[in-house]
Symmetry: C2
Subunit: 432 residues, 2 copies
């Protein structure tokens, strides 16, 4: 197994650049004058377009096409961030060597930090006036739909008409080789985190401990590891420390449930872990360039072969059925449908509602700078080369537990490739 | 020193509740009909108002005042998040024991997961129609200024008039005892992270290594720790693993620079660490309830007592001058001004611009569920009891390095208290 120890390292990587051509083309196709977006460091569209990891307050990006081709892109950053913005937005987009594949989208990038008003929307409006030279009495600006309302109002008051565009979401869905490299490196760190958790489960011993149920105190078996009770919180801290050691962050998305809490898709509480229960571990870190990973496995220590083993077999089988469909041109819904049909064949409700027993979610989702992005395997559309999606069927019973197995796969020209493999098996093994 | 090992634990804490009374009162004061906001898990206003850690797609909160007092608050969540929203938004706001201080803001909370349209703005509009019972032909809704534009458009198209409010930002600025408890616990984890970094610096040895400057290869001294070169990235990984062990996340905000990169306020690159250079370590984790910490120290291994020692003395002195001003009623600008005057007395430019040598930023900022929130020590306003701010003067020289010393303090009735103390000293010591 790849231990991923250097995978989040920033050296010797394919350069990560964003080709702004699709945005320039969207402006031209809509007969608009410019593209504008405003947001903070948590805005993944901005992160994708600029590669600027940004401030936690609003900043703006303006893109204006040139008459012939290419154009100009201006990042309006707070002055305290000039150096960082120059490095991440401007310098990183320059061709550094012949190995770069001669990247050049013809868009000249610059950073401006002048204070023109107090709001990023006002600064964007000033840049638009400057770049368009006042040729148009009411310029039309393409904006992502969820741009902040105050920014939209500033732009409108400055005499611009707004039209919404999904060009950025479309551009993000198909990944370049450099993006796939980043996703794979982050997924390698998730693999290391999973190996830590699985090893701790394998090393645990079963002991009888005092347990209070309602008002009765009884002795119940529970797991113990290195001299203390093993809980979901203790496992999560160990996973997250392993991720940090690998240079990625857990991003608050390490969800670990045991028994009934394994049926809660986003459980982050602290439960004792008991033998016979499903322990569901979902690790979705974020790497230094913003790209995500997503890996899920489920284990049972000292299981008795009941519900959880049947569920595990069903989910393994659903996973294989889903993967068998993945290739360019296949409707995304087909992948979800195959997983659901397989779970139904094992007797699980493939359309369970919230709080019901069965398969309660979609079979997978796109992953990039956002943990959830296009395409969704339960939504409309077709798979294309460069799509990166999770394949993660699962079945749950709120009274018992949950089993989910999830991997990250990239759609290739003729099928798919799993990014950073992790072994399967309901019984935990030492993996480190 | 408090090692903070259990400080991020979720048990035995003051219950964390949000008193929605100020929002209800703002609606009444503006003669409006409801308050609405829309955002995702990264929206800190929503996190504060709901305590719901939320999905990474848009959800909505609607608050409608009752005729007498109190009101109703509806969280429109995706159905996959019903259980989590019920737990975090509804159950956590219930009074659990007599120790709670009888918390009751008279606002009845509920979660709705019906799909009414595809957008959280549409769902919010439907809830408003339902709660207001169509009594008003064009209800007025208070919204935070940066609500997503598409949500605002949905609300307007549904016949509502929007007016912006800063009631949430105002409510967030003054912290309750439970919030101060959370901030202190997270700051204790930052203390543990700093102790790890300082100890590694103290344990390092100075060795001569090959160094390439332009085209010349020469041997230059650098730090080595446990058999390998000590770099800013290696220190950062160790700090972040320590934070994860304590149950908090680094949130991508551990900035460590060495030498010239210490002058870059948000440096996250990988530099070798050399003797005589300033090593600036800024740790700003986020705890499980969303609250932040912020701790900064600067060290020099084998310094020669030049620029960096003068800078350290100046910054220590500026820190003391700033702290001496902190009490209720003092204008925030006074605190910044005192720090700046002290730095000027040591010969540093107190108003340095970007890329210049001197004091380039404000003396501090409010910290809560956001790392930067009200009040700013360089903005307008007065200190009030319950304000939690950083005090973090610093001086920089882009060619040499930077020194910053930063702590988190709460304004009390008659002064201030430092949340989780950490020792000072330019020479690193073993702290673990």
């Amino acid at each position: 197994m790849n231990d991923g120890s250097d995978d989040a390292d920033s050296r010797d990587r394919l350069p990560l650049r964003t080709d702004l051509t699709p945005i320039v083309e969207a402006v031209a196709a809509a007969d608009a004058d410019a593209f504008v977006t405003v947001g903070d460091r948590f805005d993944d569209d901005l992160r994708y377009l600029t590669r600027f990891s940004g401030p936690d307050r609003a900043y703006a990006l303006v893109i204006v096409p040139a008459d012939d081709a290419g154009g100009r892109a201006v990042c309006c950053a707070p002055s305290l961030f000039r150096e960082q913005a120059e490095r991440e937005f401007v310098a990183s987009a320059r061709s550094r060597s012949a190995d770069d594949g001669g990247f050049h989208d013809g868009v000249a990038r610059e950073v401006r930090t002048e204070r023109v008003g107090n709001h990023a929307g006002e600064r964007a409006a000033a840049v638009i006036r400057d770049l368009l030279g006042g040729e148009d009495s009411e310029p039309t600006l393409l904006v992502p739909p969820s741009i902040p309302h105050d920014a939209a109002v500033y732009l409108e008051r400055a005499g611009n008409a707004l039209a919404s565009t999904n060009a950025v979401a479309r551009a993000r869905a198909r990944k370049t080789d450099a993006e796939i490299d980043r996703l794979r490196r982050v997924q390698c760190a998730a693999v290391a985190g999973m190996a830590r958790a699985e090893t701790m489960l394998a090393e645990s011993e079963v002991v009888e401990v005092e347990s209070v149920e309602d008002t009765d105190t009884e002795r119940r078996p529970a797991l113990r590891w290195e001299g203390a009770p093993l809980t979901t919180e203790r496992l999560r801290r160990a996973v997250n420390a392993t991720l940090a050691d690998r240079g990625v962050r857990d991003a608050g998305d390490t969800a670990i449930g045991a028994g009934p809490s394994a049926a809660d898709l986003h459980y982050v509480g602290d439960d004792p872990i008991r033998p016979g229960e499903t322990v569901l571990i979902d690790i979705s870190p974020r790497g230094p360039d913003g790209y995500r990973g997503d890996l899920t496995r489920t284990f049972v220590v000292d299981g008795d072969g009941g519900w959880e083993r049947r569920a595990y077999l069903a989910v393994e089988s659903a996973r294989e059925a889903a993967l068998a469909e993945i290739e360019p041109g296949v409707p995304t819904k087909t992948v979800h449908g195959e997983a659901a049909a397989e779970l139904a064949a094992y007797g699980f409700d493939p359309n369970a509602g919230e709080g019901e027993a069965g398969f309660t979610h979609g079979a997978g989702h796109g992953v990039g700078v956002s943990l959830h992005e296009s395409p969704s395997l339960s939504g409309a559309g077709e798979l294309r080369p460069g799509h990166v999606v999770t394949v993660e069927p699962g079945v749950y019973d709120p009274d018992v537990g949950g089993v989910r197995l999830g991997d990250l796969v990239v759609v290739t020209e003729d099928g798919y490739e799993v990014l950073a493999e992790y072994p399967f098996g309901i019984v935990p093994n030492e993996r480190e």
